[in-house]
Structures are given as C-alpha cells and as structure tokens.
Amino acid sequence: MFDKDRWQEIFNAIKQNKLRSVLTAFGVFWGIFMLVTMTGAGNGLMNGITDGFKDFASNSAFVWANNTTKPYKGFRQGRQWNFTNDDMASIRREVPEVDVLAPKLQGWNISNGENVIRGLKTGSFRVNGEMPEYNLIDPNEMVYGRYINDMDIHHRRKVCVIGERVYEVMFDKDEDPVGEYMKVSGVWFQVIGVARSKNPNINIGADKKEVVSLPFTTMQQTFNYGNDVHFFGFTARKGASVSETAEKVTQVLKSKHSIDPEDLEATGHFNVEEQVKMLNYMFLGINALIWIVGIGTLIAGAVGISNIMLVIVRERTKEIGIQRAIGARPWTIVSQILTESVFLTTIAGFLGLALGTLVLHAADMAIIAAQAAKTSEEGTFFKSPEIGLPMALIALAVLVITGLIAGLIPAQKAIRIKPIEALRHE
C-alpha cells in the first residue's frame, strides 16, 4: 500500500498533466467546500435561532383575551373582558390536559417614568407579576439569589426578582443585591434574586433583562389588580396536543364569560409547539437542500474524476499490458486505479474540507467580534457556524466511497485490457 512504486504512477499521472489534474480535482474540492460551508451556515442559523429558546417549554402556549366580536346571550359585540383567578381554577378543574398553569400580570400602568428607585439610582423598568411555575415554561438561571416561590405567593411577600439590566442600573458592579430594598412604583420591595433568561430571544411585551418580577399575588393586591389575570401560559401534559388543549381551555373561558363559542376572535393564543414544529420543518428543508446541492456537486466532481481516470487508463494501455506481461495480477491493476481515484478525490476533498472549515472559523470569529463590538444587546440569529467532527468524518468517508465509485468503471476498463492487445499498440 505504501510502496513507492505504487505512488510513483499516481504522481507521474498527476505531474504529466498538471492542469488537467487540478481542474478535475477542483470539482470534488468545490463539492465538499460547498457542503461544508453550507452545512456550517445552516447550523449557524439553527444555533442562532434555537439558542434563543432552546430551554423554552416547547409544549406550551400563551392565551389572552380580546374584545368580543359576536353578540351573545344578550351581550353586545365588542365587549371588553378579562381573565380572573376563578378562570384559572376552572381550567385546573375542567381541563386535565393542562400541566403547568402560570397566570401573569403586566404592569403597563405602573411602569411609567423612573418607576424604580434605590437611593440615588433610578430606572424605568417594566413590572410584571409572576407565579413560580412560570420558571418551568420559560426557565431562568439565577445570577444571584432565587426565583419567586410558593411562600412568596402565599404570604404576598413584597419581594422581587430583577433582570440583568435592572441589576446593572440599580446596583454597583459586583454588589450582592439579595436582601437589598428598592422602591418599585412607589412601594418598597426586597430583592431576592437576579434572573438571566435561558431564552433571551423570546420576549413578551418587554425585554426580560429590563423587567422587575413581583409575586403574582403580591402584585394583584399591592397595585389594585383585584382578581385580574392579564394573560397566562400553560403546558400540555405529555401526550396531549397543545392546540387541542388550547381549544378546550378557550371554550372553558368563553362559557364562564358568556361568550359565543363560535367567537374565534375573543381569545388569542400563541402556540409554541406549532412554532417549534414549523422551525424544525424549516431546518429540515434547509438541511435537505444543502445535502442535495452538496451531493449533487460532489457527484459532478466524481464524474469528472471518473472521466480523468478513464483517460489515464487509455493513455496507459501499453504500460498496463507490459505490467500484465511481467506478472501484475488484475487485482494489482485494479487496486492501482482505485488508489489513484481515491487519492485524487480525497486530496481534493480534504482541501475543500480544510478551506470550508477555515471559512466557517473566520465567520465565527467575525460574528464573535461583531457581537463584542455591538452596544445594543439585541438577540443574534446566527451563531457558531460549525460542522462537528462526526460531520467531517462522514464527509471524509463519503469522499473515499466517492473515489472508489469514481474509479470503478476505469478499473473495469483497465482489467479488460488484454496484454497482447496492449503490446500490439506500437
């Protein structure tokens, strides 16, 4: 295998027609290069998008109330309504498919101006009311302290969890905020934690970094929201479909509030499961496209290699005849041709792989640099455009197989050369 006499022929063939060899090899090079860069770009897109919500409960949905659009049971159309604590209890009771249920309050009216004050520091932040369960739908990691718990809810404690940006504005660098007090819309709250969302790309109403979260019950009482629930999130139990569950939930709500069951506009909902499914289909489509284009280019490259090998075999007809006459077995000739084919393919492909990886690495560096330079902290939709080691190994395996297949017909042709015919070739 590693005998010099074997490689002599290969290098001789390549050397004798450098331009031809380079042009042929370019096909395979380009195929692999395309496959690598496109897969990397696809992965980058996927990483960028999914990174923003990869921990978000994918079996979840959010539901909110709109004005009615149909008259019903003596009520006029266009009536304003909202959810209440009782509705939550009804859902719990009547829709067993609901697993986590997290009612939410959005303090639009108490988030005006410099509503958060701590000593000389002031800031303008959104105030939301949350249940501990919400952390199961949209998980946070705690930079400091803890998240809202059941005791906070039960005792309506005046505590709050703040977003990272709130911490930056209201506290000194590296200061421990846990146990400190802040005035939030005129009421003192004790900070119990700093939360960093694991799903920074999904923001409802306000950037999660700029939110002060209060225990749901505390907020209802302290800021006079009564029994109101502004909207809520839920997850469906394992095996239950989110959209069917959402349908049941809205029907329960409509019947409690005397709304026409046919009034489709009266509730709105956002089904995370559907969105994730659609994204997955999109990624699948992108990947399929990448492989079709990449493999297509590779096949074109392989056909090129196969052609060049055919030419080489024809040019070498006499030499093959001589080799046969002095004792070369058919297998010696076949393995020679296949080695050449695989060698050409693999070298070309390896260069494609190397250059592709280099381009992806450069892109990755550029993205990281751009992100470091960026002042405003918006979500990124392109991240780590890489191909993994398995993908690289698959690509190499594909190359070797491509080379073998490309060499098959030329090798067949080579062993069909009869020594006498080759020797008569004078």
Binding site: D5, Q8, I322, A325, I326, R329, P419, L423
Partner: protein, 239 residues
C-alpha cells in the same frame, strides 16, 4: 519429470473478428528442452508472435495442447496466468517496453514488486542484475536517457530477475543495429549458459544461426525444425 520445458501438440489458433475468422496456427507440434536455445523464423504474418504469445500465456489457443514445465496450460483466469508468467517466463520485446517514468533499477525490479518483495530487497537484487549487464552506473537513469542496446539489456535483466525457466524474445534485435544486436545476442547466450531456455523469434539469419535449433514457420505450420550445425561448429571453435 520430462526433459522438455515447453511441449506443444497440434496447436490451433484462429483470430475471430466479427464474422471473419483468420486461421493463424494450423497444428503446431514443438518440443523445447530445458536450457535449450531455439529460434523461430518465418516471414511476416506467418504466426510467430501469435505462437510466442500463446507460449507466454498472454493468449489462449483453440485446440491442441500446451505443457509448460509439464503443467498443462489451459484456459485459466488472469490472476493464475499472471502467477505462471511471473514464475516461469521472462519476456523480451522488440520495442523494449520499459516503463517510461521508472528508472532502470525500478524497471528491473518490477516483477519482484508483483511478488510483493520489499522495495529495498528488490532494488538490491535489481542492482545485481544491472551489474551483470554492465549497467550499474545507469541504474538511476530513465529509459529515455539510454541507448537502444542499453534498454534491451535492462529489459533482459527485468526478464531474468524473477528467475524464469524460459525467456521468450520477440524480435529482440529488431530495433537495434547489427553491432548492438550481436552484443545482445552474446548476453542472451550467456543467460542460456546458466540453464535458462530461450526462444527467439527473428527473421534475421545472423541471429537464428547463433541458436542451437531453428524452427521455420510458414502459413501457420512448421516447415522445418532442425539442429543448427553452424552453432555447434561455432561452439567447437570457441572451445
């Protein structure tokens, strides 16, 4: 074990080309002894090369029989044929047939490569044979840098390296001037002295006269087959 290295009986060979069939060998009987040096003569197209190709297992025959070293050679697969060729037969061609991108030493060593002898070992052996041909200092030259006589000596060294029992030479001097032809014949005779049988196809009387036996082909049959008395005379003279 009989004393013949090559024994051919009632050998027939036709070339079929579509609906045309050309009957080239029409019943050849021939017996060549171990260590014998024989020439095959005949006009162009009389079937000399065809016969030699069959003897070299490069081609099949249609009828009759062929024994090489008492082994009945019949239709066989190419792998087997390659093994027999490598083991028993050395070829020398009119046009030398060296591999152009291999140097003299590598060309000579090639048959051993097919026997999977290590590169170092086969190159050492090749150097010995080049030495015998007086070409040691040309070992690292490519065929294109050598004269016709040198090329033919390299081809002979290549034929010898696998220690064959018989050397088949198809017009080995056909491309050489008479001076060089004589040098090549001297080498072949020396080789023959070591006990290797040699069959030379030629149409030059000068060449045939240096062999022990001359077989004349004509239209696919053996016209004559007799001991070359001048060879004996010459031998006597030398002695």
């Amino acid at each position: 074990m009989s004393n013949s290295i090559i024994r051919v009986e009632a050998l027939h060979k036709s070339y079929v080309n579509g609906s045309n069939s050309l009957h080239v060998l029409k019943g050849i009987d021939m017996d060549i002894q171990r260590g014998e040096m024989v020439s095959i003569m005949g006009s162009s197209g009389s079937g000399k090369s065809t016969l030699l190709n069959i003897l070299g297992i490069l081609d099949n025959y249609d009828a009759g029989s062929y024994h090489l070293d008492d082994i009945h050679i019949t239709k066989m697969n190419e792998t087997k044929a390659a093994q027999y060729r490598n083991k028993y037969i050395g070829f020398v061609f009119q046009s030398f047939n060296l591999i152009s991108f291999k140097n003299a030493m590598e060309n000579v060593a090639l048959p051993l490569y097919y026997q999977k002898v290590s590169r170092k070992k086969r190159n050492n052996v090749a150097m010995e044979y080049l030495e015998r041909m007086g070409l040691r200092e040309w070992a690292h030259h490519l065929p294109s840098e050598l004269s016709g006589g040198q090329k033919q000596r390299i081809a002979i060294a290549r034929a010898l390296i696998s220690k064959p029992k018989v050397i088949l030479a198809d017009e080995p001097t056909g491309a050489l001037d008479s001076q060089t032809s004589m040098e090549v014949m001297e080498i072949l005779k020396e080789v023959n002295q070591t006990g290797i049988a040699i069959i030379i196809v030629t149409h030059e009387n000068d060449i045939a006269n240096q062999t022990q036996r001359i077989i004349r082909l004509r239209d696919g049959v053996i016209e004559s087959n007799h001991i070359n008395h001048s060879f004996k005379l010459e031998s006597v003279e030398v002695n």
